[in-house]
């Protein structure tokens, strides 16, 4: 079976700085893939490159192929991209207020998404489909007439989700969709996202910094740091037997269940974009770094499961 999304050698640069370097990423049909990393790791830029929504003077190179689209997405002109976005590929952003049009009733916005791509025969059908979509995200029919500012953050994010799923996209990308929400609302929105993609057999690329959320939502995970994918594999594998020292440190630092009074930390700070060290991007914060780390570590393992580290953590038990 061919992949829904296939990213090869994606590199994103702004003037002389490299923000994302040589990222390979595939998402299979119906697969839920997580992309985790701290701020500045390049995970959002990766998503924006796929969508062709990079800011001006930020340039992407490499190859992005999407199933059902017969052209390369990198470098495609706006006319072609606007036929892909919202149809084959949809995105849920972190901040729903800026993703919605404040001057339009939400029902019209959802109907518009279908009318623009001509996936429904007419206005009446589009409105009926919009009501149906609202029902799927557990919002009442009356919400059709509401403006975004009349809704709460969680309700708005559900509208954005309904909009994104309106045309049954092959791939849904979510960039920190629940970071701005309360935990109980987050639980509902996460559940709706998973049910929405499962019902359509859409693939999901889920971007977040929250390891627990990724583990709950996704099947496979990629860990990014300093603009590179440092480790990838099935969620269970990566989170129970991390190989890259960054993944190991990140897991330890986010473990609040520990009975120790002090948390395990990663020394230092995430460097600002473009100021990561050469060679292994993590070497200036890594306790295991040696001279060999000044050369870039090669990828160990298969395309979907592996890591890039000169001094990987030992595997004690192998499943």
């Amino acid at each position: 079976m061919s992949d829904v999304l296939s990213v090869r050698g994606l590199t994103v640069t702004v003037r002389d700085k490299t923000l994302v370097s040589d990222v390979d990423l595939t998402v299979g049909p119906g697969e839920r893939v997580g992309l985790i990393g701290e701020s500045g790791s390049g995970k959002s830029l990766t998503a924006l490159s796929v969508l062709g929504l990079l800011p001006e003077d930020v340039v992407a190179a490499g190859s992005v192929q999407l199933t059902g689209v017969d052209h390369e997405l990198i470098g495609a002109d706006e006319r072609r991209m606007s036929r892909v976005r919202g149809r084959h590929l949809a995105m849920v952003f972190q901040e729903p207020m800026t993703a919605l049009n404040p001057t339009m009733r939400v029902g019209d916005q959802i109907a518009e998404a279908m009318l623009i791509h001509r996936t429904v025969p007419g206005r009446r059908a589009a409105r009926a489909a919009a009501v149906e979509l609202l029902g799927r995200v557990q919002l009442p029919r009356e919400t059709m007439r509401a403006y975004p500012h009349q809704l709460s953050g969680g309700q708005r994010q559900r509208i954005v989700l309904a909009l994104a799923l309106a045309n049954d996209p092959a791939l849904l990308i979510c960039d920190e969709p629940t970071t701005a929400l309360d935990v109980t609302v987050q639980a509902l929105v996460l559940d709706l996202i998973v049910k929405g993609v499962v019902a359509r057999s859409s693939a999901l690329l889920f971007i977040t910094h929250d390891l627990a959320v990724v583990a709950t939502v996704c099947e496979r995970v990629l860990v990014m740091y300093g603009g590179r994918v440092v480790e990838s594999g099935p969620v269970e594998e990566v989170f129970t037997r991390p190989r890259h020292r960054y993944t190991e440190g990140l897991l330890a630092a986010s473990d609040l269940e520990t009975n120790e009074r002090r948390l395990t930390t990663i020394p230092g700070n995430v460097p600002p974009a473009g100021q990561f060290p050469s060679g292994c991007v993590f070497r200036n914060r890594c306790r295991h770094a040696t001279d060999v780390c000044s050369t870039a570590p090669s990828w160990t393992g298969t395309a979907s499961t592996g890591f890039a580290c000169h001094h990987p953590a030992e595997v004690t038990t192998h499943a």
């Binding site: 701020s39 935990v183 996460l190 998973v194 986010s254 002090r262």
Partner: protein, 293 residues
Amino acid sequence: MPEIREHIPAAHQPDAEPAIKLIDVVRNYTRPRTSLLRSAPAVHALRGVNLEVKQGERFGIVGESGCGKSTLLRIIAALDRASSGHVIVEGTDITHLPERRLRFLRENLQLVFQDPMSSLDPRMRVRDIIAEPLVVQGHPASGQRVRELLEAVGLSADAGDRYPHQFSGGQRQRISIARALAPRPRILVADEPVSALDVSVRAQVLNLISDLVDELNLTLVFVSHDLSVVKHVCDRVAVMNAGQIVETGYTGDVYAAPQHPYTQRLVSAIPTLHRALSGATTTDLLATKGEPA
């Protein structure tokens, strides 16, 4: 950091008076009028909050946005006044004290806010930011004291010459903590101090707060929407919902066996690695059973 350990706190006697005590605190706001004919609508931000924080305790306040936790904090810090009820800090009823008699509170109780960018003056050098609470209260602000504080929060001494924008989020939060500690407070109130930070930096700042509270024998009031962070940092926790405290108890107990339906929903909605790896799905987050897996 030997120099900072100066005030010896009141012993942890069971009969020692509580650091903070709230009796039936109510705070109502009025919204702007929407109609000429009807009266202005009221918001009941706090509806009768009773609370007791003991000396030297690490006390957590947890709740979702809009539950009134920030209003509660502002009232404890006398930045806002209660509509009715009493607020007693270290034995003094501050409910109706005028600002000029609140000097003891301004020295003994200090705040750390969520967003270190908006709570640090971008036009001041770090050393002036840290010395400001001392200057305002008429103490001599020596360079020595500022260096001590910078060292205590893990920043180099030359950090004092720089401006807030030259630091990362975690470092800025260290500066906020240093500023809060400058007047040698006995109570440290932290409002979502790690919510804006990356995971690897969050662990550093939580450790720092924890160490300083131990070393300086502070009473910590830690407000967060994140029950798992509070569980790690605090001994006791109060869960707030809709302007009321619905449950109080030792954090371990509240987390393991929540009693109130709201707390049960809150606890089960928290995604954890442990639960996810043992097969919990997003649907399990919505389950309102009390016991987390």
